[in-house]
């Protein structure tokens, strides 16, 4: 791992596009050729907003790449994401990436993928969907979100071939979570490979359901508070069967079987 040839790099990158996709959710496209060239689905970048306020860079999943461009999806939560949401086209930010270990597409003859996205957790799965569909996989997306107004424009974001089942938590009448969707369809997909991203409670619930059905081919993308994003601070750990692992370096994607789910 004597990585003198850098796996990731720091680049000052221009915002090419900043578009409001849904309530408090934005799509930002950057011109970042070096990152775009290397990034794989499931990897992320660190975006530095502000000087000392906020101090730390903010991690965002790479959500799409093409030629010199990468896109991220930003949900407004606090200071950092608000500032990003206000970014002017033409403005530049320091980006560090691509970081972390991404998803692995199944080898052999498993061609069915199920992506399970909770809210903005769609971001890395979107990139995966594009890559996988290029490579001839069949993709089903289960997507749940809080309400209609923050619901992401899936048609716009995803390749055509993806089969979508979605649900909204706070809609009058039929409501539920993405984990309810999963419950309904899990039997159909027992031989598929699962890719999951969303809040921790949702990851845990999804893992539980899959485990009960003895489905082991499942990769989970984790979020954890970060500072460096490249393995230096040991700040972003998740408890695995081999002890604490860094979400930013050994993750953010982990096999379901690696994680000590009781700690989540």
């Amino acid at each position: 791992m004597r990585s003198k040839n850098k796996k990731f790099c720091l680049s000052k990158s221009r915002v090419i596009l900043n578009q409001e996709l849904a309530q408090r959710r934005f799509l930002l496209r950057f011109e970042a050729p070096e990152i775009a060239k290397k990034a794989l689905p499931g990897q992320f970048i660190q975006v530095k907003v502000g000087g000392f306020d906020p101090l730390l860079p903010r991690p965002f999943a790479v959500s799409w790449t093409e030629n010199d461009y990468i896109e991220i999806l930003v949900e407004v939560r606090g200071k950092g994401s608000s500032l990003l949401a206000k970014a002017q086209e033409g403005e530049s930010f320091n980006l560090l990436g691509p970081l972390g270990k991404g998803f692995s597409l199944p080898k052999g003859n498993t061609k069915n993928l199920v992506l399970v996205a909770g809210g903005i957790g769609l971001a890395p799965l979107r990139f995966l969907a594009w890559e996988a569909s290029k490579n001839g996989y069949f993709i089903t997306l289960l997507y749940g979100d809080k309400n209609q107004s923050c619901f992401l424009p899936l048609k716009k974001l995803l390749p055509e071939k993806v089969l979508v089942r979605s649900i909204v938590e706070e809609k009058n009448g039929q409501t539920g979570m993405v984990t309810d969707l999963l419950k309904d369809v899990i039997e159909e997909f027992k031989d598929s490979c699962f890719f999951v991203c969303g809040p921790k409670a949702m990851l845990k619930e999804v893992y539980g359901q899959l485990a009960r059905k003895k489905i082991v081919r499942a990769q989970f993308s984790f979020e954890e508070r970060m500072s460096c994003g490249y393995g230096a601070c040991l700040g972003c750990v998740v408890l695995t069967k081999k002890g604490y692992k860094r979400v930013c370096l050994e993750g953010p994607v982990f096999e379901g079987e690696e994680i000590i789910w009781e700690s989540i």
Binding site: R2, S3, K4, L10, F52, L55, S227, G235
Partner: protein, 303 residues
């Protein structure tokens, strides 16, 4: 630009005054450094036995600061020497940081690190606020600290650096006595104890009650401590705390630090070290200096 970056910390010559702080760099960091511009890299503190570290969340952002509670996660000195040390490039001066709960543990770890022949110096971390035993107790209990320094001094012949805690009221005295007990350099300072509360859950924003605050927020506090310690001209001082750019580094050199360390800045921007060195060179050249040493201790006291 013809600026001589070399500095001496006791008998040890360093390529530059810039030292990478313990706990804020890993193998990945080296891709962003140049050996000829790097004074030394202090590796993450190791202890005798493996330490799992504290549960997440381990980090919280504070105004211009970072609150951490890593809890000295490390594989233990043996595994570290067996599996990890060889991964580090040999073109850098490495410093082994030692933590422990008893004096014997410190001594044993220090001896093992020395025996590996991979280190240019040993740094005693007597000041980590994030572990229950050891750590900060040594930093605050003067008698214990002096005994610790003497014991380690007697056991190893590598240059010995002692990293002091800022969480004390008489740092000058501790510094003076530590240097008399055999420290070749004092590293000032470790993180300040701090706390952050999540108002929604009425609980700590990190997994422990309190943690250590680093970053720009602590710079004026750290600078003052470095000034006070550096007034005693008999021991080398490596100063830091919140250094983010070359101007910050110059402040520490001016008040008397022979070298400075950079921690949190590298987490925010892995090019910070390179940028600091090039900024220093340019500023010094622009101001008619020829070497780093000329700016050290040039502080003019107010009348």
């Amino acid at each position: 630009m013809g600026i001589d970056l070399k500095v001496k910390i006791g008998s040890l010559e360093l390529n530059s005054p810039l030292i990478l702080a313990s706990g804020t760099c890993s193998l990945e960091t080296f891709a962003f450094l140049k050996p000829e511009e790097t004074g030394a890299v202090v590796l993450k503190t190791v202890t005798l036995k493996p330490r799992q570290g504290n549960p997440p969340p381990r980090l919280a952002e504070t105004p211009a600061g970072l609150l951490n509670t890593i809890g000295l996660q490390n594989p233990g000195v043996e595994k570290f020497l067996e599996h990890e040390i060889d991964l580090y490039p040999s073109s850098y001066k490495l410093v082994g940081s030692v933590g422990g709960e008893t004096i014997d543990e410190y001594v044993e770890v220090a001896k093992k690190l020395e025996a590996s022949n991979r280190f240019a110096a040993i740094e005693l971390n007597v000041s980590c606020p994030n572990v229950n035993k050891g750590g900060i107790e040594f930093g605050r209990d003067e008698m214990l600290l002096l005994e610790l320094v003497k014991e380690v001094r007697g056991a190893v012949s590598l240059p010995l650096w002692v990293k002091l805690t800022p969480n004390t009221s008489n740092i000058e005295k501790i510094a003076l006595e530590t240097s008399r007990a055999g420290a070749d350099a004092l590293v000032v300072t470790n993180t300040f104890v701090g706390m952050a509360v999540d108002i929604e859950t009425q609980s700590s924003r990190i997994s422990t009650l309190s943690g250590g605050v680093s970053g720009p927020a602590i710079k004026p506090l750290a600078l003052y401590l470095v000034y006070r310690v550096a007034k005693n001209r008999n021991v080398a001082v490596i100063g830091g705390g919140g250094i983010f750019n070359f101007r910050d580094a110059l402040e520490f050199l001016i008040v008397g630090a022979q070298a400075f360390f950079v921690g949190t800045a590298m987490l925010v921007n892995p090019l910070a070290a390179k940028e600091i060195i090039s900024g220093l060179k340019e500023w010094l050249a622009g101001h008619g200096f020829h070497s780093i040493k000329e700016i050290v201790g040039t502080f003019r006291e107010p009348s």
